[in-house]
């Protein structure tokens, strides 16, 4: 397994280089202009100079190699310097990947935005899983019962109604209709500047997280509970379940040890494969609740034609996807003894 992992990691290098190049190509071919948002009164020569200062006059491959140098060499070296004080080369004046619109290093922007995204989207994912798994198990065990029917109905709604609808609906109900003094009132705007240093602040933080987390959790849980249910049903009719019962095992043991263990194999894979979405996928929900996370950062970058920001962020999403594909494969091998990679 270790051999396999190392080999796979090794193979991700050319894959990721290729992906980064394709992203760069696409962005370069896209009809965008970083000076497009500047006032119309700026004369064309000045615009041309601004472009030059951004390095846009160089040929495409030069710009790509420069980005590679900045991202793959300078940024890791800078991290080493900032975290461990290891200085290799010129540590103070290294050229880093800089955002065109804010002039600050892209990696710093990402680090700044990461906590909000991880808290809101990550939490919604955890909540979604915690809701979905028991619902899936019970729905399958009591197939066609009331519980199953209602669960099916709700997950159909959760899956088919987009988050920009459920999000706005929740805002209308909990922020508009409900009186602001009420206990049930929830803020519609996520306040990133809130510092949690007391129980009162913690309570505020929880309250402002409830709506975005619930919107995303409903969507995630809807998908996952269907998947869990299908996987359980597949296994419940297997012969080994009958064997387990014939051995005199308790129904709980049969279900939660024998059947669940088998049913989790595909579900865990799906969960692992969708972890990258936690980092990049909640763009719409982040916009609705004004959570300034990574999704929002990407949107701003796209709107401002901030190529280095979009390039870097998209590439990091790509890395996560490639990485969690590997994680899913490894988990699959760990959970299913029939799979051997070596």
């Amino acid at each position: 397994m270790l051999n396999y992992t190392i080999r796979r990691l090794f193979f991700t290098i050319p894959t990721l280089l290729f992906i980064s190049f394709v992203i760069f190509l696409i962005l370069d071919m896209a009809p965008n202009d970083p000076t497009g948002n500047l006032p119309m009164t700026i004369p064309p020569e000045v615009r041309e100079n601004i472009r030059k200062s951004l390095g846009l006059d160089a040929p495409m491959y030069v710009r790509y190699l420069l980005w590679c140098n900045q991202f793959f060499i300078n940024e890791p070296l800078n991290l080493l310097y900032e975290w461990f004080d290891w200085c290799i080369g010129d540590c103070e004046n290294r050229t880093r990947v800089r955002s065109w619109s804010t002039r600050s290093p892209v990696v710093d922007l990402i680090v700044e935005r990461m906590p909000q995204t991880l808290w809101v989207v990550g939490m919604s994912y955890v909540v979604g899983i915690l809701i979905a798994l028991p619902i899936g198990v019970i729905s399958a065990y009591k197939q066609y019962s009331w519980f199953d029917q209602i669960g099916t109905f709700i997950s159909m709604i959760g899956f088919s109604v987009p988050t920009f609808f459920t999000g706005v609906l929740l805002i209308v109900i909990f922020s508009v209709w409900i009186d602001q003094d009420s206990w049930f009132w929830l803020p519609s705007i996520y306040d990133t500047t809130l510092v949690v240093d007391s129980w009162g602040n913690f309570w505020l933080q929880v309250r402002q997280m409830i709506m975005p987390v619930m919107v995303l959790a409903l969507y995630n849980a809807a998908q996952l509970s269907r998947f869990m249910r299908a996987s359980m049903l597949d296994n419940l009719s297997q012969d080994y379940v009958r064997t387990a019962r014939a051995k005199g095992l308790k129904e709980k043991t049969v279900l939660l040890v024998h059947v669940l263990r088998n049913s989790m194999i595909p579900v865990v894979t799906v969960i692992a494969l969708s972890v990258p979405q936690v980092f990049g996928g909640a763009i719409i929900t982040e916009q609705i609740f004004r959570v300034n996370g990574l999704g929002q950062l990407l949107i701003i970058g796209i709107q401002g034609a901030d190529i280095p920001l979009v390039q870097t962020l998209t590439f990091i999403f790509a890395v996560l996807i490639v990485l969690f594909n590997l994680v899913a494969d490894i988990l699959y091998g760990l959970l299913d003894p029939r799979i051997r990679y070596d």
Binding site: D239, Y240, T243, A246, G248, L249, E251, H258, N262, R338
Partner: protein, 334 residues
Amino acid sequence: MLDARATILDVANLKTVFNTRDGMVHAVNHVSFSLAPGELLGIVGESGSGKSVTMMSLLKLLPMPPAEITDGDITFDGRDVRAMSDDELRRVRGGEIGFIFQDPMTSLNPVFTVGFQIMEPLRIHLGLNKKAARIRAAELLELVGIPDATARLKDFPHQFSGGMRQRVMIAIALACDPKVLIADEPTTALDVTIQAQIIELIKELRQKLGMAIIWITHDLGVIAEIADRVAVMYAGQIVEHAEVSELFKNPQHPYTRALLETLPDMSGTRSKRLRSIDGQPPALGKAPSHCEFAPRCTHAFDRCLKENPKRRDVSDNHDVACWWDAKTGGAADA
């Protein structure tokens, strides 16, 4: 019917139905049989004749609903099984009655080691701790003829061949020294040489351990080899029941006779065409109101289509449910 001897398991008038969306399916229709300690009862019948459902009904191993036991008494070791609580039932399952199923490729849980699966019944029924259970599990694997038993406890089912897996299933079934072993077509999914090995193994284990066995099969050849008594099932009913030699010598029911005729003849040099029974087994949507075999029967007469025959004694240890008398070739007296 014979009942002079002591019985370990007695089933009387068992009726099991399935409540499906398309109506009731009468899978087992008033089946009665008994089993003496140490005896091997063979149950023969074609697919869908209710053999497996009968056995699964005994310990409520069928999914309920849709299955439902609507009538009958099941007495195991002097206790009423139908009145048992879930806990009591679980103690009997795997503890006092062991099961072996048809397909060893799917009967074991693929994600747990063989050792874990053998140790499970040992731990819950005999209360052994992990270490003791492991030792006993290795003994069991050795008993069923798996070499290098202790090392193989750590292996997963996919690392065993079909025959070996069936041996593992036998080890699980015999783990707690059951009084009765129910083998539901244990050799059907295996190739012929492995089949012979498994039959030999069970014969041998029976001599060693002395448990009673119910052996379900559709293979009359296997029955002839191992059974003491045979019950022939058709459409969820026992149509004939006799000591094994008596049944092969003196079959009474036209269905039994037809079954015996379908066996290939190994003695002659010239190969004859294999015989088959014309027609299809009945759908079980209605409770039997007449002899279910009558539409396929060469000896059927008007009574067969009006009344369902009860089992009548032909001789000691031999009974048949048929209106036709094989001896006279006419209607039976009853």
